[in-house]
Amino acid sequence: MAAVTPALAQSRLLLSGNEAVARAVWESGVKVAAGYPGTPATEMLEALSTYPVEDIYTEWSVNEKVSLEVAIGASMAGSRAFCAMKHVGLNVAADALMTLTLTGVNGGLVIAVADDVGMSSSQNEQDSRYWGRFAHVPLLEPSDSQEAHDMARHAFELSEKYQTPVILRLTARICHVKGIVTVGARSAHKNLGFTKNAERWVMVPGHAKRRLPLMYQREQELKRLSDSSPLNVLEDGSDKRVGFVASGPAYMHVRETFPDAPVLKLGMSYPWPLEKVRALAKLVDILVVVEETEPLLEVEINAAGIIAHGKDILPRIGELAPEVLRPAVERLLGRESAAPQVPPAPQAPLFPRPPTLCASCPHMGVYYTLSQLRNLIISGDIGCYTLGAGHPWNSLDSTICMGASMGVAHGLDKGRAETDKDKRIVAVIGDSTFMHMGMQGLLDMTYNRGNVTVLLLDNGTVGMTGGQNSPANGRDIHSQPAPRISFPKLIEALGVKPERIHVVDPYQLPTLFKLLRQETKIDDVSVIITNRPCALIKDFKPLEPYFVDAAKCTGCGNCVEIGCPAIHVIRRDKVVKASGQEVGLAFTSIDSAACTGCGLCLQPCAPDAILPLAAQNVVSIQPL
């Protein structure tokens, strides 16, 4: 993204939570910020990359663990440092976090972690508040964009005062909500430099043993701080039947739904303020903890001897929006909720509209080909190509986590039953995912004499999160030229035989088909690399669109099986074959405004009815 001049202090801006955090990071004088793209966290680093490079260094790291390690190094060096990731990213970075909590920080270090509550774009729904407890570090939870900004600034102060990493826990409903933010001024951070101190920074057992008590002491101090922290506010109310403990977006939902109830708003939700919870409990008849998603506070509050409701009345899954909260609390009060006046739903259930591959997506031909092959077990990964699990391809048999396609495929091979001895194992992974955590799995496979055909779908971008740069396209976070990785060389270095490495054009279906059949028959590790860019990035050059010549279309429907969103069925029919079998026909057309000319659909078209639109235009001019 291009650099922009930051808005003046005191400006009122419409910012997403992610943009607000980025602004606060810049204002806090942070020198180094790193991250790996992941919904809903991606825009924090994207926004930061637009601030002046003289003020802040930003990078797309190859994975979240590396991004945290970069931040740790920068903090050791005395600078303020920041890293941002989605919830599952902190699983990857956890190894670094769990030792960072022992060393503590030099320059302030804040980790923003974004939970996908409601799972709009993730493989699981997990509660990052656990990390506060697990790593014994303070955890802040904003409930809108202004708070995201203010708490991010506060987090750096807290980090330096207590020499601790601080987790800023966001959820999708913070990251992607835009609200008005009054921004502040930037103040440069004074870097006092790195001080060599092995007992502090070299975490061997002897040193770590001396750091452990300090970590617990810090946690106790933070516990005391929590009760006096201005981030934890006890708001009184006139309706004292129920009082709420809430944090993050759940706080806004509680305030919206129960405007007169007393609420303890937790901005610093770990360590949480025991005395303030006690004070609230005294104030009200019933205490309800409203937290997304796990009953963490509820369990801890009850363990402290304060009786509180929570997941006994509220769902453990998804967002706790007003329409969820109100009936649950009304039931607790022994009242039936008045049914909201909702217009009737559609009489017949509507078709679903799942996300799907784009027109000219280079993954489409790969999945079409995989769907035509039999006897495969296909181990998938995290990215746009996970959509290959959907219709019409149905060509993924597993997806676990980033990079898992490699190890899982290897395990499927080694652990196969006698009944599966004829099955061939295929792994599908994208370029960025391969560099994130797939390379190690491939090395494991070659070292341990595996037998997997790997499809490395190199579309030159981190596609699903909106087209970020990576070593695969040789551009940095600012879209400036950067060293570009050579996949064939890298893969050969990881132990794959040169003759088992192929680079193919994924728009060429016969080549793909032949190569996949050939490589899956060979008992060795093969890697097939595809080389077309994502259809949504600037490297993609649209070609002339195609059209279906209605006079030639026989309704075979083969083109529909490609799965392209630009192909539409205009008429269905049925014919009875000579064998007596009834066959459905689907006569099609191509939306020329959506078609970008990849030419996949014309390859399975039996009557050659799909032609370049330019040809139609020529034909349509009739001689006088």
Partner: protein
């Protein structure tokens, strides 16, 4: 505190510009001095999935989400999506719908069917619905991409502030891209307003 909040739900599919259109509406509300929150279900939505964008504005907005049965206006960018989300309208709410039918591959494969008459179903359900052929209105100015501006013109006279405020936000957004584009957007916006006025009468 939550009095006098206006709820507008904008729905459509990924790539249609739902989020941008909602952002322009949000900017107009801010220009009028309102507190604003705007939220959407995004993520994988760029790949042709369902997109909804919630816009709430008023003196002070708390929850960013529009609960079912509480939207004042449903701005639909696609016919079946408007039908899908009509339950978010409050009693007496207004649906303004671009009647375009965008049929996904899952329907083309014959696995599901697209409703014959989504707008008719909305009428039958008692929803006050006005539908527009935004593409052909936009097409008359030479660019189908102006369809969203047409729809902003359609909603412009239903807002608790003047249409000029909204137009100013559209103009501001396109100002950098040259006077020609600004002029085309002005025309599309005006055409949307005219179409809405005719539909009402």
């Amino acid at each position: 505190m939550t009095k006098a909040i206006t709820n507008i739900l904008v729905c459509g599919i990924g790539g249609q510009g739902v989020m941008t259109a909602t952002e322009i509406l949000a900017e107009a509300a801010i220009a009028e001095g309102h507190d604003v929150k705007k939220t959407e279900v995004a993520g994988m939505s760029q790949r042709g999935g369902v997109v909804t964008s919630h816009l709430r504005f008023g003196p002070h907005v708390l929850s960013p989400q529009i609960a079912p049965g509480t939207a004042h206006i449903l701005l639909g960018f696609e016919a079946a999506e408007a039908l899908r989300w009509m339950g978010h309208l409050r009693s007496g709410g207004l649906a303004l719908v671009n009647a375009v039918r965008l049929v996904p591959p899952i329907v083309e494969l014959g696995l599901f069917s697209y409703p014959d008459d989504p707008i008719g179903s909305m009428h039958k359900s008692g929803i006050n619905t006005l539908s527009f052929d935004a593409a052909s209105i936009a097409g008359s100015f030479g660019d189908l991409r102006l369809g969203n501006t047409v729809m902003l013109g359609v909603i412009a006279d239903q807002l608790p502030f003047s249409a000029e405020v909204l137009l100013a936000c559209i103009v501001k957004r396109f100002a950098r891209k040259g006077e020609k584009l600004v002029e085309m957007n002005r025309k599309a916006f005006a055409a949307g307003r005219t179409a809405a006025a005719q539909a009402h009468s």
